[in-house]
Assembly symmetry: C2
């Protein structure tokens, strides 16, 4: 079977790609009413944990480059979720801070994961099995993230 490896069903990456797409899609019914997208939700998660971070730190946290994060933040600023102010010690930096609206969303987002979990539990039977993915995904991510994002 010379081309056995070239079968779609033999490819882990396709599964990751699909699982990620579908999982992000599963957030849509919950995020759409809040007026945010999944990547925007990720930014909010980071800022809810700690407000007032430079673009760079947010990017590092999300393992994204600034050329992805900057426009994302600009859109979020335009929709009133956050503000970007010039850094004081380092004027190159842009400090991102939540607005009231951005802060308030936390309350509404609090139950998303519960709802989602219940939803998936119903469809998959078990949540524990999903939890087993975590350590391996973390190893994979660590192994693949060796491209040094500057900062």
């Amino acid at each position: 079977m010379e081309y056995e490896q070239l079968k779609l069903n033999n490819q882990l990456c396709f599964r990751l790609y699909t699982a990620a797409r579908l999982t992000v899609g599963a957030y849509h019914p919950y995020l759409n009413p809040l007026g945010i997208t999944y990547p925007q939700y990720l930014v909010l998660l980071v800022l809810w944990e700690q407000d007032k971070q430079p673009v760079c730190d947010i990017a590092k946290r999300l393992m994204l480059d600034t050329n992805t994060v900057t426009p994302l933040l600009q859109r979020m600023e335009k929709s009133g979720l956050l503000q970007r102010t010039k850094g004081k010690t380092d004027t190159r930096q842009r400090i991102v801070s939540l607005t009231e609206k951005g802060t308030a969303l936390r309350e509404q987002a609090k139950h998303i994961l519960e709802c989602l979990s219940a939803n998936i539990l119903e469809k998959m039977g078990s949540l524990e099995e999903l939890a087993t993915l975590v350590p391996t995904l973390d190893k994979l991510i660590e192994g693949l993230s060796e491209r040094h994002i500057g900062c």
Copy 2:
């Protein structure tokens, strides 16, 4: 811990999203020289398994909608990898068939997975561990794919 669930590190979806991004990114050094992107590679995988399929079947196989697949195929047609001809029995259909160029790429793509595996093995230590992801990802995908893509 009222907001414990809203911590980035507690979220499986973020891991899937990141792992998928990084894994697709790992294909880049191999696909870029061939002049194709990862989604285009997926289309080729499908067509290499079976040539001359309607758009719909390809979309179903990749679990994507036609509004994603159609432009993808159009770009691939423009770069000479495939052709889209009107179906004979059903004139609504567009039958997608590989060109010589598209067929020939299979030979060059044959070793990508080996190289990639070696690469990841070096960074992660084990490939078996990655294989353990597969059944769980499949269950997750099946659970989440209940939105009926027409066809």
